[in-house]
């Protein structure tokens, strides 16, 4: 029953079909994630070597239609408020398509910096909650825009440092429990800022390795269920700390492959569940870091094609598994 191969053509057609489901209620109910969904779809396509499966001009036009001129950032959909997460996705999409010249970089930089709080953490939007996820969005976006020099690095790092727990992991605010996705955002943010000495790497890599369950999948916190998206949050963190071999790559590969929908394409959180583009993106991203044959290298710090990041001169000292030939 479990698939032993990555079904690339099926996943490509699944991602291409996402825009055709306008007669599906769920399509409209997820409009607040549209920008992110396009980034997830595009990144998955790039990882599978099918970047051009979504029309470049259409994608760029959509991104630009989400510009919120009042705030100076991108919303997730036309008429939605600018948000730091959709702004990062917009920048990632445009950079992947070599179209960053279409962005008013000064205004976006001002928008991002305006969301930093006195404590050093970032808010998601004008009223938004604060969260280390948004610190990552800010740091990654500023770095991709070449405007990291405008950031108060000490203040930013100081907040992230206070979110570190005794288990080596990070929470989303000061005092919060360690969570694998928050580990990714904090470790990758510190990697971009060249401040990985803030991480207790031995302890954290132990905690991350213990996320692997007997079925090969990874969970996000102790004694929780496995989920495909943690493959990326954990593998990217381990790649940044050069410790991917600390988990069983073969078992994780088999787990991700078992979450594919072999009939209609796409990857789910767990075997037998309904697929979505989020897990399709992070499942393929995980497989790329595991050296799955035929996939394109993905940069674990920015979660973008490695070639795009290298061309910008932004590559950090991470190490994924070598790409296998078969």
């Amino acid at each position: 029953m479990a698939e032993s191969q990555l079904l690339i053509p099926l996943h490509v057609s699944y991602i291409k079909s996402l825009g055709d489901s306008k007669d599906d209620l769920a399509y409209h109910m997820t409009a607040h994630l549209r920008m992110n969904a396009i980034y997830w779809g595009l990144t998955a396509l790039c990882t599978m070597g099918h970047k051009d499966a979504l029309d470049r001009v259409e994608v760029i036009d959509f991104v630009l239609s989400c510009w919120d001129d009042e705030a100076g950032g991108f919303g997730a959909h036309p008429d939605h408020d600018a948000h730091i997460h959709s702004t990062l996705s917009a920048i990632q999409i445009l950079l992947t398509h070599d179209a960053l010249d279409k962005v008013d970089i000064d205004r976006v930089t001002r928008f991002i910096l305006s969301l930093q709080k006195p404590s050093g953490v970032f808010a998601g939007d004008e009223f938004g909650e604060t969260d280390t996820r948004f610190s990552y969005c800010a740091i990654s976006a500023l770095s991709l825009l070449g405007r990291l020099s405008d950031l108060d690095v000490e203040k930013t790092v100081s907040y992230i440092r206070q979110c570190r727990n005794f288990d080596g992991g990070f929470g989303n605010t000061i005092g919060a429990e360690s969570h694998a996705a928050q580990v990714f955002v904090c470790v990758a943010a510190l990697a971009i800022l060249d401040r990985l000495e803030e991480v207790d790497q031995q302890t954290l890599c132990w905690w991350l390795a213990e996320r692997q369950l007997p079925n090969g999948g990874l969970n996000g916190r102790p004694e929780k269920l496995e989920d495909v998206c943690y493959s990326f949050w954990i593998l990217s963190s381990l790649s940044i700390m050069r410790k991917v071999p600390w988990i069983d790559a073969d078992k994780l590969t088999a787990f991700i492959l078992s979450c594919q929908d072999p009939e209609s394409g796409g990857i789910a959180d767990r075997p037998g569940d309904a697929v979505d583009v989020f897990h399709t993106c992070f499942g393929t991203a995980g497989l790329s870091l595991l050296g799955y044959p035929g996939l394109v290298d993905l940069d674990p710090v920015y979660c973008m094609p490695a070639s795009v990041i290298e061309a910008k001169g932004l590559r950090k000292d991470w190490q994924a598994l070598h790409r296998r030939l078969s």
């Binding site: 007669d23 599906d24 209620l25 409209h28 109910m29 997820t30 409009a31 607040h32 994630l33 919303g75 008429d79 939605h80 408020d81 948000h83 998601g124 939007d125 004008e126 009223f127 938004g128 909650e129 727990n165 005794f166 288990d167 929470g171 989303n172 605010t173 005092g175 919060a176 429990e177 360690s178 969570h179 031995q202 890599c205 132990w206 905690w207 390795a209 213990e210 692997q212 007997p214 090969g216 916190r221 102790p222 004694e223 929780k224 989920d227 998206c229 071999p245 600390w246 988990i247 069983d248 078992k251 929908d261 789910a268 959180d269 037998g272 569940d273 309904a274 697929v275 979505d276 897990h279």
Partner: protein, 347 residues
């Protein structure tokens, strides 16, 4: 982004569902258009407020609409209301989000909106017994009850735990930390696997022990007893082992460290292939080697190596880590240099 089971539908069934959804989609899109056009024209009326409520009940993740709702209150309704009026408005906002959270306990936007409401509650008049901030106090005091019901439904919901810490920090009348400690005891005793409760306990105790100084010693001993009970109950559950590691910390108190090692060795006798016993023994013995150097070090180092070999067998998924710690991987010796040199030195 986490959905349910994949259901295989026939093309006919899909077509039927799409037909059924057609009018729902039309209504939803019409309402969305109506609300966003009112938002654009800065309509801050009660009517607009009601429309956002209908839309948010259909889709609580629509963050833009939560923002609009705040703006309606801030710019339309608050300026024309007495403090009593504002308090009433916010009371009904809080009821609305209570219902929304029951249906959608993991939607960031609802939790966030609820915080905003609480932070905007007016202080209220002085009560007869001279208490100030009466409205504010009443609202915040109720929040712990609300969040406890959420944690009863799902003891690992990190939104609810984060919200709990936020409420505890913001309440006009602070709750003694001892009460929060008792809450974590209840949650842990109900389910030893609830690491969220163990985590909270580590935060509360850190704070308590910082404040009270010397009386912390006996309390620490009680804590070792508490966690030992959990370890013996289910040695395969990692929650208590991770917490135990916090409690031991850097192992500066040699006596405590050696006692804990002894206690785990006892457990290992009962459970000879317990991964967490072995893993923890390696960790604590390495601390012992790092902190103290004496005639027993050689024996301790050899014991560690033996445990690491056993771990490679019983926990093959993490074999590379055990090898590396044992010094088996010469390319990565930097991290374990002190321990590794011990092994070489005594070999």
């Amino acid at each position: 982004m986490h959905s349910g089971k994949r259901v295989r539908q026939t093309p006919a069934a899909i077509e039927a569902r799409k037909q059924r959804e057609k009018s729902k989609i039309q209504d939803y899109l019409a309402l969305t258009r109506e609300v966003t056009s009112r938002k654009k024209s800065r309509d801050f009326s009660t009517e607009a407020l009601d429309l956002t409520q209908t839309l948010l009940q259909l889709n609580p993740e629509f963050y833009t609409i939560w923002n609009y709702r705040r703006n309606i209150l801030l710019h339309g309704l608050f300026p024309n209301s007495s403090p009593e009026g504002i308090n009433d408005l916010l009371s009904s906002e809080l009821s609305m989000t209570t219902a929304a959270l029951k249906a959608n306990p993991k939607v960031y936007g609802i939790w966030n909106y609820r915080r905003w409401c609480l932070e905007n509650v007016p202080d209220g008049p002085e009560t007869e017994d001279g208490l100030s901030h009466s409205w504010k106090k009443a609202k915040w005091d109720r929040e712990l009850y609300v969040v406890e019901r959420m944690l009863d439904a799902d003891g690992r919901n990190f939104h609810a735990w984060n919200y709990r810490r936020y409420v505890l920090a913001m309440m006009p009348t602070r709750r003694p930390e001892a009460s929060e400690l008792a809450y974590t005891t209840r949650k842990i005793e109900a389910n030893f696997s609830n690491f969220s409760a163990w985590h909270q306990r580590s935060k509360i105790l850190s704070s308590l022990w910082n404040d009270v100084g010397t009386s912390a010693i006996s309390s620490r001993e009680d804590e070792f007893e508490f966690v030992r009970n959990a370890l013996y109950t289910d040695p395969d559950d990692q929650s208590a082992w991770i917490y135990h590691r916090w409690l031991v910390g850097s192992g500066q108190e040699r006596q405590t460290l050696e006692r804990e090692i002894g206690s785990i060795e006892e457990l290992l006798k009962e459970q000879p292939d317990s991964k967490w016993c072995l893993e923890s023994l390696v960790h604590y013995q390495r601390l012992l080697l790092r902190n103290n150097r004496d005639e027993n070090s050689k024996e301790t180092a050899q014991k560690c190596l033996g445990f690491l070999l056993m771990l490679q067998e019983i926990d093959p998924a993490r074999r590379s880590r055990y090898k590396e710690i044992g010094g088996g991987n010469s390319r990565t010796k930097h991290s374990m240099i002190s321990y590794h040199s011990y092994l070489l030195f005594f070999r």
